[in-house]
Amino acid sequence: MTDSHKIKQPPDTQELDSILRSSKLVSGGFMGTDQRSYEKVIQSDAADIACTGKTITDIVARMRDISALAERGLGANVTINENIQASATDTRGKIPCPWQHPGLFKKTVTTVKRLNADTILHWSDLSIHLIEKHGFFQGYGSPFRLAPKELVQIIFPA
């Protein structure tokens, strides 16, 4: 077997870190201005989730429910509960996962607005996948970073 025929493995830690920091897949990358390694980001967010009493499975299921309700609004705001409204943008096209998962994720973005407060969260289908499969909420400064505690506080009814 020649050198170039060696079976290529899914991205190693270093390669993945550089993909996550680059603009190869998304503008500005997934790490924002965060200097920590992506593994540290995942560990630290996992610790934050543990404090909320929710699991990744709970969070992802709730995000999916909200996105599904928002999509039914076809761009208009949809009331999710007395505290939040959500809408879905109409961006066409699909985007891959920076880890080596097969398949593409819709670019549709769900925007969640907390009523009577300025808080707005948004996530794409890829964000949900990154949380579900990789526990990755993204680095500080990424436009799609979701701080786990804030996310839980907003999306789950009080």
Partner: protein, 341 residues
Amino acid sequence: MKRSVSNNRKHVININGRRDLVVEGGMSLFETLKREQIFLPSACGGRGKCGLCRLKVISGGGPSNQIEKSHLSAKESVEGVRLSCQVKVENDIRIEIPPELLSIREHTAICTRITDLTHDIKEFRLELNKNDEFKYVPGQYIQLRCPKYNGNEEVYRAYSISSNPMDRNAIELMIRLTPNGICTTWCFNYLKEGDIVQFEGPHGNFCLSDTDAPIVFVAGGSGMAPIKCMLHHMKNTGNNRKATFFFGLNLANELFAADLMKQFERDLPNFSFVPVIAQPENQSHWTGETGLVTEALKRNLKDASLHEAYLCGSPGMIDAAIITLTELGIPKGKIFYDRFA
């Protein structure tokens, strides 16, 4: 796949048993074919992430790698399907690719006009060199090249052609700004009138059938683009099929191209335009259809079983419209939309 330096050896790529390309080895098959003006679909620019650059390798090309195995089914692997961006050209290769991909060409154009359609949709007019005729079927799209800028890598993005197909030396695109989007941010903030742009195409098989069946067009936002192109084509060819265009928007102030649609209503005797505003602002005094576009479909179409439907918009809108239109009697096989959108 990392791009490697050419190995300086010549190899032959045989395409569909009909055409031989003599190429320099060392790069991926995807890049090598691109250099030979053969453009395979891609949403990751050859990085092994999207799985769209498939083709069939009959012989050569070495064994498939782990990345390919994660994208391809066992059946596809047995049939010789490979990801062209993961196949390195270092021996002679025989491949099969769909013949329609062979008519895709790269074009250079000047962006001659940028028009605001709404706060987040702009129309871009791209004029080709006089000798460069661009032939396409109304409904098709191009892949616009977004060059490297501000730390972002070069990417290609799909945009439906919205212009009059009689205009062989220019195309127009309706592009909606995606917040934090690589290509749309470039189009809105960096691309200026007079700049040179590149695109390749045409792509896609979203096009009007040649039947007489009445048509339901359903679109939202920039999804108007291919429908507008089809309407120009209907006018150019004197096609008097009954056609109703349901155009879904969130607010009344997001409505655009209404005058042009009124003109189509005058030029095409059986055409009507139905804008549907989800949440009309009080001050807009909107008197037309309101609510979701799917609700308007239900109010206006009682039995659509003989109709054909052409959809363009977000995946959510397409899914919702398919459910409604099938409830109204249109068979799934008569509902058309871009598969990858």
